[in-house]
């Protein structure tokens, strides 16, 4: 192999760098394409906000389970609260039993405010944003969380 002269880069090395310098970006590009492709940009899932009827539909001092949306709606003292029925452990639907909520999948127990009493659930059940439209209908957003015990006064 010829000696390096006057600090010049050897032809062979130069070609090698071109080779690697092309190969890696090409691979990186292919990986980027594939990964980006896998993540959908538009979802055709049901909207997270939904109309939950008029306040009059709910008797006072009641808990209503909206099964389709997996939400408990509480009405008491003239206010509304919405509690998610999605277990914070692994996403099963909790059911109301006695004074709180139970999850059938791994046995998490929550109190009436959604706080964890026992079981593997790492955090309390989520309280959901609930509001009134101008027409006087209740709107709940299952993807928007509010602080525990947030109450919509009606």
């Amino acid at each position: 192999m010829p000696e390096e002269k006057g600090g010049k880069i050897k032809r062979r090395d130069f070609m090698l760098w071109i080779g690697w310098g092309t190969l890696f970006p090409v691979f990186a590009g292919m990986i980027e394409e594939t990964v980006k492709f896998i993540f959908p940009n538009v979802l055709y899932e049901p909207a997270t906000t939904f109309r939950a009827g008029r306040p009059e539909d709910y008797p006072s001092d009641s808990v209503t389970f909206l099964a389709e949306k997996r939400v408990f709606v509480f009405r008491d003292n003239g206010g509304f609260r919405a509690l998610s029925a999605v277990c914070t452990h692994l996403g099963c639907t909790v059911r109301q039993e006695k004074k709180g909520f139970f999850c059938p999948c791994h046995g998490s127990v929550f109190d009436a405010n959604g706080f964890v009493l026992s079981g593997p659930a790492p955090k309390p059940l989520d309280w959901l944003s609930i509001a009134l439209t101008r027409k006087g209908e209740l709107v709940i957003d299952v993807a928007k969380f509010v602080e525990t015990g947030y109450k919509l006064k009606v």
Binding site: I38, P104, C105, P120
Partner: protein
């Protein structure tokens, strides 16, 4: 009869027959070798194998059985694809069609389902066999690692297949399973999003699981199986007790690189040359006939079982109602039991450590002795440690399967579950 024999003999002399089979039928050693080496499928095998490797009690045929079950699953799976449509609107109806209107539809579905369950079990037993006979020791460390990949692929294939019927069982098992993934640090939620193609178990998720189940994972499985088998040959056939020294001056043979073929080119002693007459047997027909008989027996057992027991199908998937208790497939119930203590520790950390630990076994256990016999006395510690791991997995699975009832409460088999 004589006429018939003449006919067969004439057939064997035709040009067509000769073009397919290039060797004669007479049981000469040459023909027995050619039967293997000139056959595309059979040349997976060496022409001769050590007598020790042929003993049923050594391997219990578990590796071969795993492969056979994979073939059964491929054939039945492809047939099921003819009717199955991966749509949340149709998938469940297709299951009902298979059961009630398609000729042998139920049988095929049963065969596919029970073979899948059996394969998980058999692959696990095969891993235990390899461990307890020291089959992972030098030079087979790498193939042990390939084996672990095969085990994971087997589990992942079962898991993705589980969603396809789109019944309650499927829906909740996948809801729970994918939520476990989201507990993985940093990437967890992204993995779940990519796996489901969104935030909920819906049409996107069904399509993705379908593609994984019928193309991506089987192709990976086929690739890794090829590597696994190729490696068995390159590692000198399957393990056995060390071959006794023949010549006094013979140097200790390094890891055998080749059993047969290229022998003339290989430097140094090849393992079997001197011992050949007593120690090895022709693969054809000894091993090949054994394999065929074994495969037929399993096929019969699978059919009888599928005739009497139907693959489960619950009600249509209903995102609003979680069945109580909601259980994953049995081979994940040990995991679900762990998850019931802590999602991250039980669902992510423990299985990750277990997998890494198993892969590293050959590099941690450097003790070279005790290869080729079951439960060698020289490997007491290794055997005890591995047995503790196996026992833990089995006990957790039994607890999850039989002792957990509504709200994941503890119920003995004789205790009745409260009715709702």
């Amino acid at each position: 009869m004589a006429k018939f024999n003449d006919l067969i003999k004439g057939l064997r002399e035709t040009q067509v027959w000769r073009s397919i089979f290039r060797h004669g039928y007479a049981p000469t050693e040459r023909n027995q070798s050619l039967a293997i080496s000139s056959n595309f499928f059979l040349h997976l095998h060496p022409a001769k194998v050590r007598r020790h490797a042929l003993k049923f009690t050594y391997t219990l045929g578990l590796g071969g059985l795993s492969f056979f079950l994979f073939l059964v699953l491929t054939v039945t799976g492809i047939l099921l694809m003819i009717y199955y449509v991966p749509s949340t609107k149709e998938a469940y109806n297709n299951m009902k069609d298979l059961e009630f209107v398609i000729s042998y539809g139920l049988l095929l579905r049963n065969l596919h389902r029970w073979s899948a369950h059996l394969m998980v079990l058999v692959v696990f037993f095969h891993m235990c066999r390899v461990f307890y006979t020291g089959g992972y020791k030098r030079p087979r460390e790498f193939n042990w690692g390939i084996g672990v990949v095969l085990l994971l692929l087997t589990l992942f294939l079962s898991f993705t297949g589980y969603l396809l019927p789109w019944d309650q069982l499927a829906f909740w098992a996948i809801t729970v399973g994918t939520n476990i993934a989201s507990y993985a640090p940093i990437l967890g939620p992204k993995i779940r999003y990519a796996l489901l193609g969104g935030n909920i178990v819906g049409q996107n998720a069904l399509m993705r699981f379908y593609v994984l189940h019928v193309t991506i994972l089987p192709v990976l499985m086929g690739t890794f199986l090829a590597i696994h088998f190729w490696r068995i040959r390159k590692d000198g056939g399957i393990s056995g007790p060390p071959i006794e020294e023949v010549g006094a001056e013979e140097e200790a043979a390094p890891a055998p690189l080749k059993t047969y073929g290229l022998m003339g080119l290989v430097k140094g002693p090849t393992p079997m040359v001197e011992k050949e007459p007593e120690d090895t047997e022709f693969t054809f027909p000894n091993l090949v006939y054994k394999e065929i008989k074994y495969a037929m027996l399993i096929m019969i057992i699978l059919h009888v079982f599928s005739f009497f027991f139907n693959a489960p199908l619950e009600e249509l998937a209903d995102p609003e109602h979680t069945p109580n208790p909601a259980k994953a497939p049995w081979y994940f119930l040990g995991l679900q039991e762990l998850v019931s203590y802590s999602a991250f520790l039980g669902g992510v950390l423990a299985p990750a450590l277990a997998v890494i630990g198993i892969i590293l076994i050959p590099f941690i256990d450097r003790n070279p002795s005790g290869v080729g016999v079951w439960f060698s006395r020289e490997r007491k510690l290794a055997i005890i440690l591995f047995s503790i791991f196996v026992l833990t997995a089995v006990i957790l699975t039994i607890i999850g399967t039989y002792l957990r009832g509504p709200n994941w409460g503890w119920y003995w088999p004789w205790q009745e579950w409260p009715k709702h």
